[in-house]
């Protein structure tokens, strides 16, 4: 019995860190622009074209 209580405590804790990470991401503005980063990541780096 007590093992399950500890396990549940940890599982909620782990889930809680994910929730915290999500809230951090929203606060950080990552959900304000859900399109541009997807394009930006496909651009090559500058160095290559300056060669």
């Amino acid at each position: 019995m007590s093992v399950i209580v500890i396990l549940i405590f940890f599982s909620v804790l782990v889930a809680g860190t994910f929730l915290a990470a999500f809230i951090w991401a929203v606060r950080n503005g990552q959900y304000e622009d859900r399109y541009t980063p997807s394009v930006r990541i496909l651009f090559d780096d500058d160095k290559e074209e300056l060669k």
Partner: protein, 816 residues
């Protein structure tokens, strides 16, 4: 003489913007361009080794044709410290941050180039594009580059930022829906954990689960469920409460009732150790509802539906006092101030022309793009745009008291109360609530003789099972999806409720100029003696030297490639142009200007308000005839009117005179109402009249002169050539190119409403099953946990699939 592409080599496209090149004269290297503006941008990029711009997307550039190259002094107001402080969000002298709205951002190349600004100017540290909002955030060193230089750099590469009074006054334009994300996050977290903890209860054979476990799990569920109810569902409580305050019951009321009963009964069961409650169903329901909200909340960030005159007015204006020119914010303009308006600048306040040749383009206010010449002493109303040389004006009314702004500030123009619109879902919600309360009470009375406990159980069970989650989910998913589908077809509606309002309209009112006719595109015909090919060359050479917009159109309309050399050229503002070419004297302009002959002076001249403006031509003092500019009706107008004629009452309100009466009746049929000489106020009043007759009116307009009517109507649709650029406040923006599909959009809105009704029926069927079971007081947590999501998922699937299928059937393509 129609504009023709015959002489082009298989339609060469501009390397920069992809427009058709009208000639092959403009080239750089082996690349052809449609105008010098495009070529200049290409050369700037080429010099700076930024030609990758052209590899990412094909012909990514923005056509530079419409922009004037004389932007030299246009941004001088950006040197004003007050303006700088208003435009920058951060500035400590070493580092400054400014954000600009750039409506022309449209492809990945745009993002690439705008984020490479630092390579064009080392004073710029970083630039970041938000594609959805069409903004670019620029960090720069004010010591190395001024704000004005930053803006001029943007203009030079073809990305003209939109800087207006409104942007400055309300800096934080973007309403972020962060709080919805937080709520969904919390609800998702709690729901997920609650589901896990409820599995033993669902799956274990009855009695096999140890009681202490059961109690422990239930207790944690209660703990996790509380923040979901209090925080995540708080909007529903607010909405239901606001409804009650206004003495009406909206759909949120039965939802809140169901949630509260669920929670209280569950809490009671768990605390008294008599059961495990239904916390899982409650949190699941809230989670679903919030997802629906997110789905519906798709708004077109880049489009602004709430614009008023402030969005269009310049930030500052040049004032001259005792010979010195200073730039002051327009809000500080006082009566009696002398202002300087340059080419392409907007007159910010009603003023009297003091000096210079005014040629005012009121397209902004009336939709009519042919400039009106004004002479000294005449009043120029705010909103007019000067075309041509510099003029000096004396302000007679401040910005807020000017004619146009007064019109805007009238009470009738104030935003209608959105809540007043009684959405179908709220009507259903109201009767639903009453009905459910009656059944619940009946169940209570029926079971009361048995025991109070059973009676309460039955009462709460009915309220729980009848919670109208299906109905509540229908609207966000059906309407939200409709908004999306319409948006893909370039019909952008402000929010979901607009779709529902469109489905109810029975009268459609069209504005004429700019709405059913095309702006900036007119049919030029020459009436008189047929011009010889040599004469055509002469005329073409003449108009080539003039900057007047009509000259440009005549230039395009003449199909000759040869040009002759001009030995003398003169442009008389408001009168016409004259030139000496190869010994011939050519005059083009008003009747009085080209000839003294009495037989033509009494006919229309350039000043005429008549739509087909006439431009007379004389060669060596003999009048050859006149060019007339006729409006072109939008393609597909005939199909639209003929298909709408039967189902809707059609009205045309025109600000012009009745010159086009015949044409309009031909298009709209003799049963249509066509009214001419309508002032903005007349249009507004007419819409009110229609509404007083209990008509649901859709107004379709374009200019600020329609703004009042657009707001007053049940659905105001602004038609716009450049969707992200210009439109008055409205409920929906229609891309001008999609005008001929208007009837399909309306039909689709009506179908969506039918889908909603069907979905309501499905959801009520689920409720009937649930309530029948609940009435017998037999409701297990498992049953509630199955029934509620099942009804929700059915409804969501049905509405989304049905709207997609119907959109295809109604001819809305699903392409992105």
């Amino acid at each position: 003489m129609q504009i023709s592409d015959v002489d082009l080599k298989e339609g060469t496209l501009c390397y920069h913007c992809g427009d058709k090149c009208k000639s092959l004269d403009i080239q750089s290297g082996a690349k052809y361009f449609c105008c010098t503006g495009c070529k200049t941008v290409y050369e700037i990029l080429n010099e700076n080794n930024l030609c990758r711009y052209y590899d990412i997307d094909e012909n990514p550039g923005i056509s530079q044709k419409k922009l004037d190259s004389a932007a030299g002094s246009r941004y001088s107001y950006l040197d004003d410290p007050i303006v700088i402080s208003q435009l920058t969000s951060y500035n400590d002298g070493k580092l400054a941050v400014a954000s600009f709205i750039i409506p022309v951002i449209h492809c990945s190349s745009c993002i690439w180039l705008l984020e490479k600004l630092y390579r064009l100017n080392s004073g710029i540290l970083q630039s970041e594009v938000n594609f959805v909002q069409k903004t670019v955030n620029i960090k720069y060193k004010p010591s190395e580059v001024s704000l004005r230089e930053v803006v001029e750099l943007l203009v030079a590469v073809g990305y003209e930022p939109q800087i207006s009074l409104n942007d400055i006054e309300n800096k934080v334009k973007y309403q972020s829906n962060k709080s919805l994300y937080y709520k969904i996050g919390v609800a998702g977290f709690c729901t997920g954990n609650i589901m896990l903890l409820s599995f033993p209860e669902y799956l274990a054979p009855i009695g096999s689960l140890e009681h202490s476990f059961k109690q422990f799990f239930a207790f944690i569920n209660l703990l996790l469920g509380t923040p979901v109810l209090i925080y995540s569902a708080s909007d529903y409580f607010k909405s239901a409460w606001n409804g009650l305050k206004q003495k009406s019951i909206n759909i949120d009321f039965p939802i809140v009732l169901g949630l509260l009963v669920l929670f209280i009964r569950s809490a009671y069961e768990i605390i008294t150790n008599t059961g495990v409650g239904f916390i899982d169903s409650m949190t699941g329901l809230i989670f679903f509802l919030l997802l629906g909200k997110l789905f519906q909340g798709k708004t077109y960030d880049a489009l602004n539906f709430e614009r008023n005159y402030k969005s269009y007015f310049p930030v500052s204006v040049t004032v001259t006092k005792g010979g010195t020119e200073t730039s002051i914010p327009v809000t500080n303009l006082k009566q009696g101030d002398r202002i300087i308006i340059r080419n392409n600048e907007l007159v910010p306040a009603d003023a009297i022309l003091f000096n210079g040749n005014a040629n005012i383009d009121y397209s902004f206010v009336t939709g009519e793009s042919i400039p009106v010449p004004k002479v000294q002493g005449e009043i120029i109303y705010a909103g007019g745009r000067q075309r041509g040389s510099v003029i000096e004006l004396e302000v007679i009314r401040t910005v807020s008291q000017s004619y146009l702004t007064q019109l805007w500030n009238k009470d009738t123009f104030a935003k209608r109360d959105e809540d007043k619109f009684n959405s179908l879902v709220n009507i259903v919600g109201k009767y639903f609530t009453i009905f459910i309360l009656l059944i619940a009470s009946a169940a209570f009375i029926y079971w009361y003789p048995e025991s109070l406990r059973t009676a309460i159980n039955a009462f709460t069970a009915v309220l729980i099972v009848a919670c109208p989650c299906g109905i509540a989910l229908t609207n966000p998913f059906a309407l939200g999806n409709a908004v999306r589908l319409l948006g893909r077809n370039k019909f952008f509606v402000k929010n979901a409720s607009v779709v529902e309002r469109i489905s109810k309209i029975d009268t459609i009112v069209f504005d004429k100029t700019g709405t059913i006719t095309k702006t900036g595109d007119a049919d030029i015909t020459f009436n008189g003696n047929v011009l010889s090919s040599y004469e055509q060359v002469l005329v073409k050479s003449l108009v080539r030297s003039s900057t007047h917009p009509l000259s440009g159109r005549i230039y395009d309309a003449i199909e000759t490639k040869e040009l002759a050399e001009i030995t003398y050229f003169n442009e008389l503002s408001g009168k016409g142009i004259e030139a000496e070419i190869e010994g011939s004297r050519i005059k083009l302009g008003s009747a009085r200007f080209v000839s003294d002959a009495p037989e033509i002076t009494h006919t229309n001249d350039l000043k005429s308000t008549k739509l087909d403006s006439r431009i007379f031509l004389s060669i060596n003092n003999s009048v050859k005839g006149f060019f007339s500019v006729n409006n072109i009706y939008r393609t597909g107008l005939e199909d639209i009117t003929s298909s709408l004629k039967d189902d809707f009452e059609l009205v045309v309100l025109s600000g012009d005179n009745d010159g086009e009466r015949e044409n309009l009746y031909r298009y709209f049929g003799n049963s249509a109402w066509i009214k001419f000489n309508q002032s903005p106020q007349d249009k507004l009043d007419y819409i009110k009249e229609l509404q007083a007759e209990d008509k649901r009116v859709m107004m379709i307009g374009d200019g600020l002169n329609d703004a009042g009517a657009l707001k007053q109507s049940d659905v105001g649709v602004a038609i716009s050539e450049e969707v992200s650029n210009f439109s008055p406040a409205c409920d929906a923006i229609l891309d001008a190119g999609e005008f001929q599909r208007l009837n399909k959009f309306i039909a689709f809105a009506k179908t969506t409403k039918r889908i909603i009704i069907l979905s309501f029926i499905i959801s009520i069927l689920y409720n009937i099953i649930g309530v029948t079971l609940a009435f017998q007081s037999e409701i297990s947590p498992l049953m509630a946990a199955v029934l509620m999501p099942a009804s929700s998922i059915t409804v969501v699937l049905f509405t989304v699939l049905a709207t997609n299928i119907m959109a295809k059937r109604k001819g809305l393509q699903g392409k992105k």
